[in-house]
Symmetry: C2
Subunit: 519 residues, 2 copies
C-alpha cells in the first residue's frame, strides 16, 4: 500500500463505520462525554480442531497503547467524514460533531486497565477495561479488538509449541506466509509467547534482537545451474560465514548428498579453527532424518552440531516427532535426550496464522454507565446464557494454592477485597449449580491481576522489556498445573465470581427479563 | 506499534535474514547482478477442511508494486545491518556489500510480469515472474510472498461466499477479528473477490467507497442502562439517520421485542416521508428468523426492507441458510426467492481470516539463470514429484472451448505461441501418464495471461480501478464451468504443459538425477 494510504487507513479511521455513527448519535443526545466502562474479554480458548487450549498468553498491549497515544483525527480524516453522504445526498456527519471530533477526540482521554503482556489469561475475565467518555470508548472498540485479539492468539500458539518442543530453541519463520502485514504483530507476539528469535529483519531491529536464518534451496540451485555442485555452494557459504555455518541439506538428497557434503565442509571449518552451527532439515520424515543426521554427525565427530527442523511444524507434529525420536533412538544407538537437546525448530505458517484457530473471539461489552453521580452496572441478556457479560466494575484476582499453583481467577465487585475475607464462595460464571468454597488457609496468595496503564491522559505504567515479559510468562506457566497445560483435552481452569458479584449478576438478569415486558 | 518502528519494520528490512546473507554471498562471488528468474506460484487450492476450492482469485498486485516503488534501504536500515555481529563478535555484513545495498538496491530494477488482480488463477502456473539481478530478486522473495499470498487467499474466500450467497450484497465486517494489520490488505482483497462494501472506514476512504454499518448492541444497552428502552434507542437512531435506518433487532429478544419495535419506528419514518433500510439479525437461527422477519415486515407493509444477516457466516452456512429458506418458505406463505432477494450478508471473522485455510502455500522458485549470453533453465528435484517447479522462462495461456468456457491453463516455452499450432498436446504437470490433445477447431480463444508490470525501472502497466477488477473477476467466473465453481468437491481444472516444455522438464529431471552421482 502506498505510504500515504497507509497513514490514512491505519490512523483514527481504523475503526468500523458504525462506531462513528453511534458516536454522533451520543453527541446529538448529549451523551458523548458520559462516563462508561467497557470490558474486553474472550469467551473461549482457541480450538485448533480437536485440540483446544487450556490457557492463553496475553499480548499486544504495548503496541495498542503506542497507537492510542499517537492517533488523533487528521484534517484529512475529518474531510473524508465530511464528504460522506447518504442515499439522498445529505451528509452523514454534521459540522458540530466533526468539530468535536477534530478538537476533542483522543484515545488518551480513556482510562485503560489491563492484565500485562506475557501473563497466562483465561476466558470471561476482563483482559482490559476501558473507562471514559462514551463516544471515544465506543470508537475505540474496533482498534482495541484488532490490536489485542491476534497477538494473544499467536502468543498462545507459541507457548503451546514451546511446551511441545520441550523448551528447545524456536525460530519464528512466518513472514512469507503471514496474513499480510500481520507478520510484525504476529512475530512480536510469538516472541512473547515462546519463540526465541525471528527471521524477520525489520522486526528484530525494532525489538533489539538478532535475526536468525540459514540459507534457501535456491542458493544451492544457483550453484548447480551455473555448473557447480551442492558442495560448492556449502563451501562458499562456509567461507563467508565460518562462524555461523548452518547448512540446509535437503536440496538434492538429504542422506546421500546433503549431510555428507555438510560434514566435509564442517571438517574443513574445524581445521580452520571454527565450529559449525549445524544443519537444517526441511522435508521428509523429520524424526527419522534427525536420528540419521545425529548418527552421521556424531560419527564424524560433530556431537554438538545443531539439527534445525522446519516444514509445517506445530505443537502436534513436534510432539509426534519427539515421541518418535524417543521410541526409535535406541535403534540407532543414540540417546533420545541427547538428540532432542540438539534440536532447534523453525516455525513458519502454522504459528504466524495460528493454524486451526485463526481468530480469538475477543469481545468488548458495556458493563457500566455513570448516572447521577454514581456508576450503574449494565447488562445484555438476549443471547445464550454464556454470552451474558458480567456487569459492573470488577476486581480481578488470581488464587494460588498452598503449593503456589494457580487454581482460579476470581472476579469481585470493585469494592471487595478477597484478601480480607476468611473464606470465598466461588461461583461458576454461567452455570448456577456450580460453586465451591475456599478458605484463606488453603491459599498461599491472592494476586490482583489488573494494572492501570493510562489514566488522566497520562501513561501510568512502565512497559517491561521483552525479556521481562518472557520471564513473567515462564513464572505464570510454571504456576499452572500440568493438566491445564496439556496439549489435548486440558483440565478446565476455574473462572469464578464472588458471591456478591454473582448475586448482582443474577439480580440484573432477573430485572432485565422483567423489564422486557415493558417494551 | 509506534510510527517510527512501523516505518522500519515495514520497509526494506521486511524480509528474512537469510535473504540478506545469501545476497551478500552472491555479492562476494560477483554473482549479485547475475540475471535470474524466479516464478511465484501456489501448489494447492486452499482446503478449508473437507471442502477445497476449485479456483482462486488473484489479488495484492497493486499494493505490492506500490511497496516496491517506494522502498529502498534507509540509512537506519544500513546502520542496523552494520551493527549485526556473529557469536565471536565479527560483523555479519561487510562495508562493501552494505555500500552496494545502500547505493544500488532497489526493487524497481526487477522486471515483474503478473496475472492481473481479480483473475481466476490455478496452482502450478506462475502468478508472477521476477527477472533481474540475483541479489535483489532473492531479497524480494519474502515481501512478494507476504504481499500476494494473503490477498489471493481472501479474494478466493470472498468469491466463494459470493457464490454461496447467490450474488446478494456482501458487507465486509472483519476489522475487529482480522489478524492485526492484515485487516486492510484483507478488506481490499475481499472487495476484489466478492464483497461490495466494508465497515472499515479508513480503507473505504483510500478506495473511494462508502463504508457501511448499522449499530451495535451496546447502543441499545446504553439506553436501557439509563432507564430507557430498546424502542427509545431505535427512535433516537431513526431520528438522526432517517435516510439510513438499519436496526439491529436482537439485543433483547428478536421476535418479541426487536422486530416489533423496529416496525413501530419504520411506520413513524414512513409517515415522515422516509423509507427504512431494514433490520439486522446477529444471533439465533438465521434462516428461521429471516422467514419470520420477512413475514412480520410484509404484514406491516415493509416488503422492501432489507434483512441483514451476520454472525460467523461463511460459504457453507450461507448455503445452509439459503437452502433452509427455500425448503421452509412456503410454510410461512412466503416465496423463497423474494426472501433471498432482500438478504444482505455481513461477513466478519471467517472471511478476513479465511477460516479453515489460513494461508495460501505460495512459493517462489528459481527457474532460470543467465550464463554466457543466454538463459539456462534451473530445476530443483529432491522433494516429492509435485514439488518440482517447471523450469525456464514460460508463456502462460488460457484455452477457451467453443462455448467460450475456460478449459485449461497451459504453460509453454517462451518462444512457443500455441495460437500458431494446429493442435496442442497438453501434459499434466506432474503425472507423466496424463495428457490430452486439443485442436484449434475445438477452441474459441487462446488468451495470454501475463502482463508486464515493471520493466527497465519503469511502471509499464495501468492499474485498473477496483470496479474494473471486479468486472474482470465476474467475466472470468462466468467462463468457468459450474463444476469447477462448486463449493464442495469441485471438478479439477486442467493445468498443462506443452509438449516441448514437458520434454524440457523431463530432460532436466533426468540430467539432475544423473548429476547427483557426481557429488
Amino acid at each position: 500500500m502506498p505510504y500515504k494510504s497507509q497513514a490514512i487507513s491505519e490512523g483514527f479511521l481504523y475503526t468500523d463505520q458504525y462506531q462513528l455513527t453511534m458516536a454522533q448519535l451520543y453527541f446529538r443526545l448529549g451523551l458523548h462525554e458520559r462516563e462508561v466502562q467497557f470490558d474486553h474479554y474472550f469467551r473461549t480458548y482457541p480450538d485448533y480442531g480437536g485440540h483446544q487450549a487450556g490457557y492463553c498468553i496475553s499480548a499486544g498491549l504495548e503496541w495498542l497503547v503506542a497507537w492510542m497515544r499517537q492517533t488523533r483525527p487528521s484534517d484529512e480524516d475529518i474531510a473524508y467524514l465530511r464528504s460522506q453522504t447518504g442515499d439522498r445526498g445529505q451528509r452523514t456527519f454534521t459540522d458540530d460533531f466533526l468539530e468535536w471530533l477534530s478538537k476533542k477526540a483522543s484515545f488518551e482521554m480513556l482510562t485503560l486497565r489491563a492484565i500485562p503482556e506475557g501473563r497466562v489469561v483465561h476466558p470471561h475475565v476482563p483482559l482490559t477495561t476501558v473507562t471514559g467518555p462514551l463516544a471515544m470508548a465506543q470508537i475505540f472498540e474496533t482498534p482495541l479488538l484488532n490490536k489485542l485479539n491476534y497477538p494473544t492468539l499467536i502468543a498462545t500458539k507459541a507457548a503451546r509449541i514451546r511446551d511441545a518442543g520441550r523448551g528447545q530453541l524456536i525460530l519464528e519463520f512466518g513472514l512469507r506466509r503471514a496474513q499480510g502485514s500481520a507478520a510484525n504483530d504476529g512475530a512480536r507476539a510469538a516472541l512473547i509467547g515462546g519463540a526465541d528469535f525471528t527471521s524477520n529483519v525489520g522486526l528484530s531491529n525494532i525489538l533489539g534482537l538478532s535475526p536468525k536464518g540459514t540459507h534457501a534451496h535456491s542458493m544451492v540451485q544457483v550453484f548447480m545451474a551455473l555448473g557447480g555442485t551442492e558442495l560448492d555452494a556449502f563451501q562458499a557459504y562456509a567461507d563467508l560465514y565460518p562462524d555461523n555455518c548452518l547448512l540446509l541439506v535437503d536440496t538434492v538428497d538429504t542422506l546421500e548428498s546433503g549431510i555428507p557434503n555438510a560434514i566435509r565442509v564442517f571438517e574443513e571449518l574445524r581445521r580452520k579453527g571454527y565450529e559449525p552451527v549445524g544443519i537444517r532439515l526441511d522435508s521428509g520424515d523429520l524424526a527419522y532424518l534427525s536420528l540419521r543426521a545425529a548418527q552421521m554427525l556424531n560419527d564424524a565427530g560433530f556431537h554438538n552440531a545443531k539439527i534445525v527442523l522446519s516444514n509445517q511444524l506445530d505443537e502436534l507434529n513436534l510432539w509426534q516427532i519427539l515421541t518418535q525420536i524417543e521410541l526409535s533412538a535406541s535403534q540407532y544407538d543414540l540417546e533420545a535426550d541427547k538428540v532432542i537437546k540438539r534440536l532447534v525448530y523453525g516455525i513458519g505458517t502454522r504459528l504466524i496464522t495460528s493454524r486451526g484457530a485463526g481468530a480469538l473471539d475477543g469481545v468488548y461489552k458495556l458493563v457500566s454507565v455513570h448516572q447521577n453521580g454514581s456508576w450503574k452496572p449494565a447488562i445484555k441478556i438476549s443471547e445464550s446464557r454464556d454470552k451474558v457479560p458480567t456487569p459492573g466494575h470488577k476486581g480481578l484476582w488470581r488464587l494460588y494454592d498452598s503449593k503456589g499453583m494457580a487454581i482460579a481467577d476470581v472476579m469481585s465487585q470493585d469494592d471487595e477485597d478477597p484478601r480480607e475475607s476468611h473464606a470465598l464462595q466461588l461461583h461458576h460464571p454461567i452455570d448456577q449449580s456450580k460453586y465451591r468454597q475456599v478458605t484463606q488457609s488453603e491459599l498461599s496468595e491472592i494476586e490482583p491481576l489488573h494494572e492501570t496503564i493510562l489514566q488522566g491522559g497520562e501513561l501510568r505504567y512502565d512497559f517491561p522489556s521483552l525479556e521481562e515479559i518472557r520471564q513473567q510468562r515462564e513464572r505464570d506457566l510454571n504456576r499452572l498445573y500440568p493438566g491445564v497445560r496439556r496439549l489435548i483435552n486440558p483440565h478446565m481452569y476455574h473462572i469464578s465470581l464472588t458471591n456478591r458479584l454473582w448475586q448482582l449478576k443474577q439480580d440484573m438478569i432477573e430485572s432485565a427479563k422483567r423489564g422486557e415486558n415493558r417494551d
